[in-house]
Amino acid sequence: QGTSAKHELEKDEPRPLYMDFQATTPMDPRVLDAMLPYQVNYYGNPHSRTHAYGWESESAMETARKQQVADLIGADPREIIFTSGATESNNMAIKGVARFYQAKKRHVITTQTEHKCVLDSCRVLESEGFSITYLPVQTNGLLDLELLEASIRPDTSLLSVMTINNEIGVRQPIEEIGQICRSKGVFFHTDAAQAVGKIPLNVTDCKIDLMSISGHKIYGPKGVGALYVRRRPRVRMEPIQNGGGQERGLRSGTVPTPLAVGLGAACSIAQHEMEYDHNRVSMLANRLVQKIMAGLPDVIMNGDPVRRYPGCVNLSFAYVEGESLLMALKDVALSSGSACTSASLEPSYVLRAIGADEDLAHSSIRFGIGRFTTEEEVDYTAEKCIHQVSRLREMSPLWEMVQEGIDLKSIKWTQH
């Protein structure tokens, strides 16, 4: 996609505005500040038991685990496992839990809108003989809870549903899903990468058994994440990565102290800033959407307008090709769907799952707003968007036909 337009910036070329906060986030300066001592002088291995380098490194890691990550989600520190990111956490949770209980339970349920790493892990399980149910979502992106409950079988070990979707920002009814799973004796895993630190999340209130956390979605470093694994009632899993038995034997390998410290700092800051950030991001998102919708006809928001995280806005601009619009908006860093799926030319499977019209799915852009976004950036983005969409529509024969009142769906296209 758009690879013909790819070019690294020239030396003096101004950088685009960053409006792609779901793909990744800049590190908060407070996070970098917390990490640097462990990249410079406090470089010990946290598992070294015999000297101060090890002790101080372990102490920093445990502070991150307890006071910061665990505290943010209402967990016990013994329930937090550091990983290399949410992709690893998702792999561990899905494959690890399913395989542990496979003697008696061989069914896993997930949704059609999950992140690729969840879907791909389920496909691997299928090849191992498991049976997987991929639940459809409604046109607003939300699950049908009755359908979810009905798909649970006596041999279901795990249900995996993401809290906030990274493409359309929709927020699933996690509390209700947790309640259903608990009542049926099914473990509930949620990929909360886009939710942790942005909305209040408590693993006890929502009856969550496993949760994936990503550092670089919450202004922390890339290459680190965590997996929450409930101890009461106990969740057992087969480890994916074997070795020296670190992280309760569930994820062997030296815990990267600077990254763990960074994740901890990011979680701690997020807890402190959650209300402030949420108010501001909501205000900015409303501002962006109002301006765009006031300046352009035929713009559709994908996903439920209310049950969502405001900072993830996915809009379809009818009669405009998404890739062309992205290229035209070269001053703004945006995406047309998940970074993970942008290698192929296919429209997003998430948009397909919500029943978006094929044409509209190709016309969608995702705007990501975050802690560091300014009003100025939002206004610039809205103005450029209105200008470029109008320009592209002017050049479009389809738009011309629509203006003349022709119903595009009634046209019979012939081959030459």
Partner: protein, 85 residues
């Protein structure tokens, strides 16, 4: 609040804004200025001396952090972004 305590708070506020203006990064700079301003505004009615003292200490620590991060930003400076005129 005692007059001298008030003067100290105002002095810290000015120092933090002045330090924040030096961030080379547009996004960090605007965030720091906004966040410092909003934090002081939110706390402006606090009277209890212990709380004031604690907040002042936190403020001093944040000021030092801003100064460090500004220095690092200058070491690794990159081009301006499009809205910086």
């Amino acid at each position: 609040m005692a007059a001298s305590a008030r003067a100290q708070v105002i002095s810290l506020y000015r120092s933090m804004l002045s330090a924040s203006k030096k961030f080379p990064s547009y996004n960090y700079r605007t965030y720091a200025l906004r966040r410092v301003r909003d934090a002081f505004r939110a706390n402006r009615n606090i009277e209890d001396p212990k709380t004031v003292a604690r907040l002042m200490t936190e403020g001093q620590q944040t000021l030092a952090l801003i100064q460090r991060q500004v220095t690092i930003g200058k070491m690794f400076e990159s081009q301006k972004i499009v809205v910086e005129g």
